[in-house]
């Protein structure tokens, strides 16, 4: 049974259709990439799944239970936790306290939560900033804070909204390492990403949105050959580059 099932979800803002009958599933243990051009409705879909927006039509199931219309804190408590594309540090709190807020979800006792927060901070490479005010972090640090905070809630499904956008290539590499590590801990990942070189090697499956519609779905290898995805998003040049890379790998 799928961990997350999005069934015919439609989201309209007035006359604008941001998501049009989008359906897909995420199985436990998978890494699923959600890609598409700007304005394709990726973040809107995230907001619907995480309960920030009510859906106009359609249903969402998480862990076998329907979560359509539930407030976001209930969905988070069930184990589906997201990060924000535009980072949202709790500015006047320290980095440690930010992560501790997340850790309190499954550790009301202080000591247990503190331990969990500390290990998440360590994991995300934020240890040297722990006592700094979250508002003072550089952008890369704020992105990692988003991740650490969500991770501290011990989610079943972690939904990452462009955590790698704006990072340097070294930082992207570190982030990929971290994502692999998170998957090894048994956490399922749904990742919105613009950096194709980042998402393609780690995703088990990719869902492609364009104009609010789910235009393709499948393993990355198949997606980069898909005519519709190439014309809508990847572009011929980029697709050739990805294919060349794949051939390099198979030859090697």
């Amino acid at each position: 049974m799928a961990l997350l099932e999005v069934r015919d979800v439609t989201k309209k803002f007035g006359e604008l259709v941001a998501n049009d009958r989008v359906s897909f599933t995420v199985d436990a243990g998978e890494i699923v990439g959600l890609i598409g051009p700007n304005g394709a409705g990726k973040t809107t879909l995230f907001n619907c799944v995480s309960g920030l927006y009510p859906v106009t039509a359609g249903r969402i199931f998480f862990g076998g239970a329907e979560v359509t219309g539930l407030p976001s804190y209930r969905i988070a408590r069930m184990g589906a936790v997201r990060t924000f594309q535009v980072v949202r540090p709790l500015k006047d709190m320290t980095v440690f306290d930010n992560v501790l807020v997340g850790a309190f979800l499954h550790g009301a006792g202080g000591a247990q939560a503190r331990e969990a927060a500390e290990s998440c901070i360590e994991l995300c490479g934020l240890a040297e900033y722990a006592d700094k005010s979250a508002g003072d972090l550089p952008i890369g640090g704020k992105k990692r804070l988003e991740l650490a905070r969500a991770l501290a809630t011990r989610p079943k499904l972690l939904m990452l909204d462009e955590v790698m956008a704006g990072l340097t290539s070294t930082e992207v590499k570190a982030a990929l390492e971290l994502i692999r590590h998170i998957r090894e801990k048994g956490i399922t990942l749904l990742i919105v990403e613009h950096v194709m070189e980042a998402i393609m090697p780690i995703a088990d499956r990719v869902v492609v949105l364009d104009g609010g519609i789910n235009i393709a779905e499948g393993p990355p290898d198949r997606i980069i050959d898909d005519e519709r995805v190439i014309s809508a998003y990847l572009g011929a040049k980029f697709s050739r580059r990805l294919q060349a890379k794949r051939e390099e790998r198979t030859n090697a």
Partner: protein, 339 residues
């Protein structure tokens, strides 16, 4: 590292309370009735500001309605004594519960408003309750309640000869409310409250039920403001609507906290320790010039502080402490590891 820092801070506060408990042993102070009055008011206003600080500082929801809860608490004790001829204690309990209930009822719809609109809505509530109590016969209307002579002591929470009894009551009130806030600061609820202040949607995305957190904080804050109101009426021996349920009184909750430093444990005490002596001594010195001299001084001080340091007096104290601590940090500051 975090636990060590917490303990040192607690010791400081315990030592402070112990020191304040010794004040009545100094006969020079107890002989000066006006000084005792000022000390009692400092403790009372620090407690009131700390009660407000729960929702207003830590929770970030600026309420101008706290004089309503303060008034309900005052009327709870006052009516028990004046109307029903009882000890004030049952009235204090009922008053605190009523204050919390009223707070929840009025803030539930108001919390749907954000930012300034919440503050404006709470303004209106003060006016509503002020008018209501002015015309409400059962609570004494515009005449208010005047205390009869009763036997002094803790049972009646009343003393005539000396102010020492009131001083200790105020100190207990202070220790109780500061203790509660100190406890909350280090526990899940306190973290959730600050998280809601810093970003409601973010907090919700981490599993925090922001509505429940805000309502609980509001109920606690109102009940404690009501407890302060009960102490006030026992000390003042009289209550009428203009005295307690007024925008003036609401402003004091807000100003003392903001001047001292909202969202900090020390802020309410620092604010009260500066503003209350100023208020009482200017009143005593220049009261003949007509009412409001103290408010002029109040206003100017607020402007200066807020312009110089928006985090209030506690922000200034922190800056000074940092300046003194820096040389020590430089010596032992090389232990930061790389991840």
């Amino acid at each position: 590292m975090h636990h060590g820092a917490l303990k040192r801070k607690d010791l400081f506060w315990l030592a402070l309370v112990a020191l304040m408990a010794l004040v009545p042993a100094v006969s020079v102070i107890t002989a000066n009735s006006f000084l005792m009055h000022v000390l009692i008011l400092i403790l009372l206003f620090a407690s009131m500001a700390q009660a407000w600080n729960i929702i207003g500082g830590y929770g970030g929801q600026t309420s101008f309605g706290h004089s309503v809860f303060f008034g309900i608490g005052a009327y709870g004790a006052g009516m028990a004594v004046v109307t029903y001829g009882l000890s004030p204690w049952p009235g204090i309990g009922v008053g605190m519960l009523a204050a919390a209930a009223v707070a929840v009822l009025i803030s539930y719809p108001c919390f749907k408003l954000s930012g300034h609109y919440f503050a404006i809505a709470t303004f209106a509530i003060v006016e509503i309750f002020n008018r209501l109590f002015l015309v409400w016969y059962w609570v004494g209307g515009a005449l208010g309640l005047d205390y009869p002579m009763v036997e002094e002591g803790l049972a009646n929470l009343m003393w005539y000869d000396s102010k020492t009894g009131y001083y200790y009551c105020a100190l207990v009130l202070f220790a109780l409310i500061f203790g509660i806030v100190r406890f909350l600061e280090g526990h899940r609820f306190g973290y959730y409250l600050r998280a809601v202040r810093e970003g409601q949607e973010t907090a919700e995305s981490l599993g925090v039920n922001s509505t429940a957190v805000k309502l609980t904080a509001m109920a606690l804050s109102a009940a404690l403001a009501g407890l302060c109101g009960a102490f006030f009426v026992q000390y003042n021996l009289r209550v009428d609507p203009g005295m307690v349920m007024s925008l003036d009184m609401s402003m004091k909750f807000v100003l003392v906290t903001i001047l001292g430093g909202a969202g900090t444990l020390a802020g309410p005490l620092l604010g009260a320790a500066v503003l209350i002596p100023l208020q009482e001594y200017t009143r005593a010195l220049w009261g003949g010039l007509g009412g409001g001299v103290d408010l002029i001084v109040f206003g100017m001080l607020i402007i200066v502080i807020v312009v110089k340091q928006p985090a209030g007096i506690s922000g200034i104290v922190r800056d000074i402490a940092k300046r003194f601590r820096r040389p020590a940090d430089a010596k032992g500051g090389t232990s930061v590891g790389t991840a």
